[in-house]
């Protein structure tokens, strides 16, 4: 074994263990909570493919973003913008350097390939043609339309979602992409890396463009055309299909709208891992193709809330599908609308005193009306002010109406909007805020 090889194995192992620790919590789950929250996005953030295609799809201006991050002294964000540049430079210079030294998925495939070699079985060839170029160019094509349709196949995003699952077996599928290829890798060593990985192909491409620019595009012409011919129309049809439907799911704060979120989310599930309330779940409704496996808010299971003093999910999205929001911004954002089903409500339906929803509303978005003919105005009737309701779900959680799930429904909104009221009157409040990051 050469010295370089030993060094490489040590470094790869180190990166691999670190990645497993980040995704699964490692042997010390408590230690995970001590780390800063943005550590949750570090793995998918390292994908040059995600950075590149999301920049195209969301029409981002990286230079403007970078200077804005510096101006706001958000060093962590600035560093993240540097990372793809460094990785791109490495790829131009050294090709698949990242795959061989850093990529934890690559390390996992190398490990399984090493196993195959030892058993001396004749490697199978299940995948016989390179899928990666078509996948890559289809992704570029869809990004041009504004949708990163195949980005969930990014290896780092796939690695990050291994631990992600919610209720129902369907939600295990996205996390099983990488393990499935790992199993395939035993039969056909490095099948993923060599034939499928769009990120690896991107690295190769970058190096080839430097060394022999003209020949690269000539030799890849067929794949480029095929990829774009698949990506652009599929994404365009997908987008039309998406627009034709009303919002049916509630998205994490900062994701703007179902359209934006489902178009740009890579399903890395960093937001799910970061959410302290556990309200973000993998959407398992197979009938909703456009938001299949998308992280959505589920208020019903275990009566969860989108907590008032929390903006954790907005800090961890590696691709900007969820915008970074300051706590004050998040507190002013309407992500859903609560609605009282009056026939089931204790106050409206049974004419008895309750109004527990008003008590628990952190934003004073519920006001009390009284029946006009009542001498003492004893039965308070809660009314939700839709102009103030943020859709946090505290009222739904508090509701004690004796029907399953209470008498309050959380309804999705077409577009998340900022509410302009000064609900936090006292300015001392934010200075004493422990979670303000």
């Amino acid at each position: 074994m050469t010295k370089l090889r030993v060094v490489r194995i040590v470094i790869r192992l180190w990166f691999f263990i670190a990645a497993v620790f980040l995704v699964l919590g490692g042997p010390l789950p408590q230690a995970m909570t001590q780390l800063p929250i943005w550590i949750r996005k570090i793995l998918p953030q390292f994908s040059l493919l995600a950075a590149f295609t999301e920049t195209i799809a969301q029409r981002l201006n990286p230079i403007a973003n970078f200077s804005e991050a510096l101006a706001q002294k958000r060093w962590a964000l600035a560093c993240y913008l540097i990372a793809p540049c460094v990785i791109a430079a490495l790829a131009i210079w050294k090709g698949r350097f990242f795959c061989r030294w850093v990529c934890p998925a690559g390390s996992a495939f190398s490990l399984s390939a090493a196993l195959t070699k030892k058993t001396k079985t004749k490697p199978w060839r299940i995948i016989r043609k390179p899928v990666a170029p078509i996948l890559f160019w289809a992704l570029i094509g869809s990004a041009l339309v504004g949708v990163t349709l195949f980005l969930p196949l990014d290896p780092l995003s796939s690695f990050n979602r291994i631990a992600g699952r919610s209720a129902g077996w369907v939600t295990w599928i996205p996390g099983a992409v990488l393990p499935a290829f790992l199993l395939l890798g035993i039969l056909q060593p490095l099948a993923w890396c060599a034939w499928v990985c769009p990120l690896g192909y991107f690295f190769d491409l970058l190096k080839k463009i430097r060394t022999q620019p003209a020949a690269t595009f000539n030799s890849q012409r067929r794949q480029i055309i095929a990829g774009l011919a698949i990506g652009i129309p599929v994404a365009a049809v997908w987008k039309k299909f998406r627009q034709a439907k009303p919002a049916k799911a509630i998205m994490p704060p900062g994701s703007d709208s179902t359209e934006h979120f489902s178009s740009t989310c890579t399903r890395c599930y960093a937001c799910i891992a970061a959410c302290p309330s556990g309200i973000i779940k993998i959407n398992s409704s197979a009938t909703e193709l456009d938001r299949l496996f998308l992280p959505t808010l589920d208020y019903t299971a275990g009566a969860k809330v989108c907590a008032e003093f929390c903006n954790e999910c907005t800090k961890v999205c590696p691709v900007g599908a969820i915008r970074t929001l300051a706590l004050e911004q998040k507190q002013q954002l309407q992500i859903a609308q609560a609605k009282i089903r009056r026939k089931d409500c204790i106050a409206w339906g049974k004419n008895e005193v309750c109004a527990v929803c008003d008590e628990y509303c952190p934003y004073s978005a519920i006001h009390i009306e009284y029946a006009p003919d009542d001498e003492y105005h004893d039965i308070p009737l809660p009314v939700i002010d839709s102009e103030k309701c943020r859709g946090c779900g505290y009222c739904k959680k508090a509701c004690v109406a004796p029907v399953s799930g209470g008498a309050i429904d959380m309804l999705p909104v077409e577009k998340q909007k900022t509410i302009h009221d000064s609900y936090q009157r006292d300015k001392n409040h934010s200075s004493a805020e422990p979670m303000d990051g």
Partner: protein, 305 residues
């Protein structure tokens, strides 16, 4: 049951001595001063002052004298919400600080502060400012939500709707129980002060909401009668309660009584003309739980410099 005889720690003689010392105006009727809880002359002390620490010191000096409340004291504050002290949703930590310093100096060895908060205790207790104060005095604050073993099932024999409840056992085991609520507005009950504060001492407050909340509040007051009630009316949230943030007034008052109903009724006048605007106070009157008529109270107004 913590509702011990008043004489055990505060005799009439001590009281008169103290009065003679000039702490209290002597406009007290002579007769049965501290007889039955709801006798004609229920004492309510109203302290006014800008310094909350001194306010509590003066109040304790006035009503306790040098007597101790007993070895073990259970203190019910309001620390239910993720709100800062200045927002008036929780009891002022400065009052709690002065209270703990006072009782511990007077011979109490343990003060326990149990609370069943409406928001996660991990956030609400520190943010209310009460947890740091309790820890400063090396006493314990209990998050009642963390374990159902903290509760004991009790029967409420005088109750109308709330026939039984799981109540935090600390309030039964202590030598003295002190209720230290904050006076604030409340969406469903109009105000939340002393009687309403006990919703944070039971396990299932949802039952109250489902079974005539007003009646349940009055019912519980027939059972748990604290030794003392100290109402924090240093600032009062006038609407958008119980959580707010809502508009504040600053009456700078501390209202003290042995009769929680009387204290409640008096504090209600900070919000409404008549205490009977609040239904559970009307019910308390009908059920004869305590004094609700302000004209029949001995109100001692004391200015704290």
């Amino acid at each position: 049951m913590a509702d011990k005889s008043f004489n055990e720690f505060f005799s009439r003689r001590d009281f008169l001595k103290l009065s003679a010392a000039g702490a209290i105006s002597l406009a007290l009727p002579g007769g049965e001063l501290f007889g039955a809880a709801a006798a004609d002359a229920t004492d309510v002390w109203v302290f006014h002052g800008m310094d909350n620490y001194k306010l509590m010191q003066k109040a304790m000096e006035t009503v306790f004298g040098k007597k101790s409340l007993g070895k073990n004291v259970a203190l019910k504050v309001n620390a239910a919400w993720e709100r800062t002290p200045a927002q008036g949703a929780n009891t002022d930590p400065v009052l709690v600080d002065a209270f703990l310093a006072g009782v511990l100096a007077a011979g109490t060895s343990h003060v326990v502060v149990p609370e069943n908060p409406c928001r996660p205790a991990k956030k609400a207790f520190p943010m209310s400012g009460i947890l740091p104060v309790v820890e400063k005095h090396k006493q314990k604050m209990i998050d009642l939500q963390s374990d159902s073993k903290y509760y004991k099932n009790v029967k409420l024999k005088d109750a109308d709707r709330l026939k039984q409840a799981k109540v935090a056992r600390y309030f039964m085991e202590a030598d003295a129980v002190v209720n230290m609520p904050v006076a604030k507005s409340h969406g469903s009950t109009k105000i939340s002060i002393a009687m309403k504060n006990w919703m944070g001492a039971v396990e299932d407050r949802g039952f109250w909401h489902k079974n005539d909340l007003y009646q349940c509040i009055a019912d519980f007051a027939t059972y748990l009668k604290p030794t003392w009630t100290f109402i924090d009316a240093t600032r009062t949230m006038m609407s958008k309660g119980p959580q707010g943030p809502g508009p504040l007034k600053h009456p700078h008052l501390l209202i003290v009584s042995k009769d929680q109903v009387a204290a409640d009724a008096y504090a209600t006048t900070l919000f409404f003309d008549s205490p009977y605007s609040v239904k559970y106070i009307r019910l308390a009157k009908d059920m004869n739980i305590g004094q609700t008529d302000i004209k029949k109270m001995n109100v001692h107004k004391i200015e704290v410099a």
